[in-house]
Symmetry: C2
Subunit: 368 residues, 2 copies
DNA sequence: TTGACTATATTAACCGATTAATATAATTTG
DNA sequence: CAAATTATATTAATCGGTTAATATAGTCAA
């Protein structure tokens, strides 16, 4: 193999004593009007192997008008905990000789808008969107709708944000319900839900649908149990990084003085922040207080105590999304896929004990 | 813009009343023998904008023999905590109209070998390798060497694994030194280093160079202070995920019964495992025991207490690696870049207090 | 034996850009 | 004023595949 002179299809054809077309078919296995005998195929492949030849995807792409590239756009935070989703996607893509281009959106809709441009300029054959940043003007909705009209397959992950775009997600309402149920079964009755109230208003439909649905699941479970749901708010305005500990302090004060013995939290990171603040206040988890998170993030297994949480089948979600892209490419019909949340019971929850309740009620009386 | 009929360069040329070549030059701004007047350029660009045209990278790639794709291969765990590196890389790539393909290696050298194939089949224009899995047979070394002979730019990140391949990394020896120094300055004298002994033998040169160098920096600082370095081993054989808590138990027992008041740990995850075990044993961090990690992983800011650690300038490391790729492409000489580690002092370390020392010695006597 | 059909192959147009070679007019230089 | 140079453009070959249209030989049925 000489430097700088790559073997091409013509070279293989020459050495095998066949035409370019035969080599192409031998490699792709495609058969339209044109076929190739098993014998010829083997000979071609053998010579190719000897010369270290593999078909140049650049030529193929141009000719087939397919880049063999799929783009994944999504909020940065998703990539931190959802590597398994990416792996799920890639497993499916690899079988089809596709590659994945990833675009990490920041907090602004502009990012996604720009990334949409990048991906389109690259002529990606499909788009997987993992949640969108706040987009009050709906500009991206129009872009995505245009795309679909042009025939580009689009699938969204985790949350239903773009209407009419097929979605692969976990049943978040059910997650909220199951988390609460778990605490109810442990005998808790004073259960709060810690979340960010801005996520719960309907002004930006879809953007924080997961938060809203988790809260609704919580409320449903509480009501069914004849209990009063109570949502406690934290302030996410000054959020930096993933550490909620500081932001969650007032919420935890409310938790402590409100006579609660357990809480479900918007996500694992919030739950960990809550546990940290509880520890700082001398409240022992789970003995004095049970905490549940959502997402089964990496952290949740190694925090102290390890967090009880509701996970998602991340790698399946990714794989399914990728498969849907190909189905859309083949002009097949696809429908939404909603997965059941996966309860992961660790050590941040335990059965209520009566003395705890009494103690916290006393406290309430003193401070109230 | 009609469905399925993409505007191409010829269409723009026609409407602008110029040749294909003129359009090409107007867009690329390249100028060899051929130029285009400012007036023509503007007209072409305006028409292109009106028709929503952007040059098809598939055609361009084929013609220029450049895929405009760079591959990043690396151990899965790197991607969990080093998203900033990827962002650093992408910032630089984007300016050059390049995209990044990521390949997450598992624990086996086979993965990297396979990913090398994938990337090469894709005709990537450059390769960034973020650490390699154990490769006793050195098969990948040969592959990488071959690649470089063929003129493909290769850069490695974090650790020097492939000889002769330019590296961008942090000075790990110095990190070990600084971590230990920090503890010495706080008055600690009984300082251990918790690591995995398999990382320290020289059988697999480079593969765990970071662990080795951190340990060496620790030893150097201890010796300079006239203190006895002591490396304490944990068992990584049964490692699953990122949670070291269980694996680190025997090491923590040694720590407690050996009269130590502080420890540096191979990485943040190990440090967090150590803190969890200390907490389980009723040892308060940092009051009774100080702990230092390495990497400044996401987790280290939200664990309890937040971890003192030595970070790396991840995004700069990424950006530098990407820039080096382009320099290699332009046949320029490049040399290694070694960054200074970044101390991040949080709450897992504090000044030694005398009573702690006495207590731990008592304990030693009791249990010993 | 003839026509239809099948299996296997080739030829040549095409995908959408880049760029070396070439051309022309305008401007500068000696 | 002629020659050289410069600025601005065009023509056509090329990158490395795919595939519709076409060709040929062999098989099978009637």
């Amino acid at each position: 193999m000489k430097f700088g002179k790559e073997v091409d299809m013509a070279e293989i054809a020459r050495q095998a004593g066949v035409s370019n077309a035969a080599v192409s078919v031998a490699f792709s296995g495609r058969k339209g009007k044109i076929g190739v005998s098993e014998e010829t195929r083997k000979r071609v492949l053998k010579i190719a192997a000897k010369l270290g030849y593999s078909p140049n995807p650049l030529g193929r792409s141009l000719s087939m008008k397919k880049s063999h590239l799929i783009a994944l756009l999504g909020r940065e935070s998703y990539f931190v905990f959802a590597l398994d989703t990416i792996k799920g996607i890639e497993t499916v893509l690899r079988d089809r000789d596709y590659s994945l281009l990833t675009y990490y959106d920041g907090s602004w809709a502009d990012d996604q808008s720009r990334h949409l441009d990048f991906a389109l300029d690259r002529r990606v054959d499909g788009l997987i969107i993992a949640g969108a940043p706040e987009a009050p003007d709906g500009a991206n909705h129009k872009r995505v709708a245009d795309l679909r009209k042009k025939g580009v397959p689009v699938v969204q992950l985790y949350r239903r944000i773009y209407p009419d775009v097929p979605v692969v997600m976990t049943d978040e309402d059910r997650a909220g319900y199951l988390a609460t149920q778990h605490l109810l079964e442990l005998g808790h009755t004073r259960i709060a839900h810690v979340t960010h109230s801005a996520y719960l208003d309907r002004e930006l439909p879809g953007t924080h649908a997961d938060a809203l649905q988790r809260a609704q699941g919580y409320e449903r479970a509480m009501c069914e149990a004849g209990l009063m749901p109570q949502v406690i708010d934290y302030d996410a305005q000054t959020m930096v990084g993933l550490d909620y500990t500081r932001l969650v302090k007032p919420a935890v004060d409310q938790l402590r003085h409100g006579g609660f013995t357990a809480a479900t939290c918007f996500c694992d990171y919030v739950a960990i922040g809550v546990m940290n603040q509880l520890a700082a206040a001398g409240v022992r988890v789970p003995k004095d207080f049970s905490v549940v998170g959502y997402d089964n993030a990496n952290m949740s297994e190694m925090c102290n105590p390890p967090l009880t949480t509701l996970g998602q089948p991340l790698s399946e979600i990714g794989a399914t999304a990728a498969r849907m892209i190909f189905e859309l490419m083949d002009k097949k019909e696809v429908s939404d896929t909603i997965y059941e949340p996966i309860p992961v019971v660790r050590e941040s929850t335990c059965a209520m004990n009566v003395s705890t309740l009494r103690k916290s009620q006393v406290k309430t009386r003193i401070t109230g």
